[in-house]
Amino acid sequence: MSDLLQVRDLHVTFVTPDRTVHAVNGVSFDLKRGETLGILGESGSGKSVTLRSILRLHPEHRTRWSGSIRLEGDEVLDMAPRALGDLRGGRVAMIFQEPATAFDPVFTIGQQITETIRKHTGKSETEAWKRARELLELVRIPSPAQRLKAYPHEMSGGMRQRAMIALALSCNPSLLLADEPTTALDATVQIQVLLLIRELQREFDLGVIFVTHDIGVAVEVSDRIGVMYAGKIVELAPVEQMVDAPQHPYSRGLLASTVHDGMRGQRLEAIPGAPPDLAEIPTACSFAPRCRFVQSPCLAAPPDLRVRSDGHLVRCVLAAA
């Protein structure tokens, strides 16, 4: 199966008169159709910046890019504005953490979905409304015809997120980008939305990149998980390998410090310290100041991504081949 998306050595730097932030420092990965890649990281790790780069959503005049993002062979970083417009919401769709702010409050859900359908497919008004109604049925919103006439504030959080998924799927994208789509939802609603995304992904053979800070959520939806730290993927592996045998000290620390069943009374293995400031390009392993296993090579140069025999990728000098 050929790759849907190829990201190679992506660097993203934000430059303002007073500050420079090296948000993404050399990220590479591939994604196939029908595959879900979970990107796991803490705030400031560069996971959302990586995701938004795929649609080039960052402000053009303040962002410096290098590397390559190829979607079905087309280079996103070289795309003209018109081609980008076709890409966004057409071939690539995105869903966000807060559907209440992602929708425009002064238009109904139906107006917003039909606008997208008409722009990308040139369908007539009537056809677009018919399609919008089918989409709401698809994401299992009850009484879809009435819901199309509702404004975003008239819906509950879970319904709004379903409506946003309907909007995202309206033009048959091949790639769905999900930026913490269930973080703002209640627990009993979160699981419903996760199951819906998983089901739609299978039904439409979508490639999905799912960004989250929640390991449990990443495990629930992903085929592979990439762990990001300080703008780099430090480990990338199939979900079973990542859960059973994380290799990078940061991934191990993250798993060990996540509270789950049966940890009552035990002391948590917290990672000391805090993530680094990204004002400088890292000249050593970014995790070294917090790492228990730090050695002199860690401080000499940023470690390369090593490929283990089972395909597991680890950016650590300690990782065995």
Partner: protein, 344 residues
Amino acid sequence: MDSALPIADRGGPAQPLLLAKDLRKHFPVGGGLLGRGRKVVRAVDDLTISVAKGETLGVVGESGCGKSTVARLLIRLLRPDRGTLVLDGDPVDEPHGITVNELRRQVQMVFQDSYASLNPRLTIGETLAFAPKAHGLPAAEARARTRDLLAQVGLDPESYAERYPHELSGGQRQRVNIARALALRPRLVILDEAVSALDKSVEAQVLNMLVDLKSELGLTYVFISHDLNVVQYLSDRVLVMYLGKIVELGPVEAIYGNPLHPYTRALLSARPSMDPRKRTHEAPIQGDPPNPIDPPSGCRFRTRCPFAEDVCAAGEPLLTETPAQSVACHMRRPGSGHSKAAAA
């Protein structure tokens, strides 16, 4: 009042540290001219809670269930519509009881938003010394107290006392908020989503610290969170809320090991599994929690409950004692008329 000294226990270990009886708080919303047709959010409805000395009481529930309103009622940031608060035998804000100020000396609170909780124009040292000074501690002693507090929460006093909140990371700011809550040597600390905004690796540091402080200082916690795993980790007893009502209350082992209320069961099985081989295949319940304006009649959970029958719409289920826990469900009350209930 000498705020330098911790407050001695009064009623003995069996007397609840804080007892809240029949607390009710309704918020009016909208409404037409002269308040006609006004609706109310029934945020907390006739809730009775007792917090035992030295325990951690976890409070869980989804958004809109009233858990934060409970926190604010317990420290009197909100005045209840009805109900009483009793702190170690002393009624609060009543003729023969203690004042609200005294309550707030003994009960302190830590909020979710670490940045909004700190005055941006005061240094960390000034923030921490503020309450002790206000309660009459001389400036020099307040400064010494500040240094102790910073050391207690794992921040170097030399380098942090002179800094401003914006110079700190989220985890460091939340440590400062915990230190601020401890400045008056309280007996009860209410933690309202206090670790929810922190990254996991930092959350673990703060949770370890909360466990240490509790045993060092003999504190009692009310720990409010939407994160069931963290509540399980920290709590001795757990209270589950749904739309302003207690649905289940009991020791942590009973609530997590043998939940009796259908809502508690749904909440627990909605947790992601952490095991890719045991993924969830079906959501335990459908739909969102209803709007707390106009909650369903009878049992408020009945609109999402797979076992709902006519009796659930007719009458509100009372909190019923079972051997291990208390639960508000018609199925668990003998003679309630529900087909799954035992005979009376």
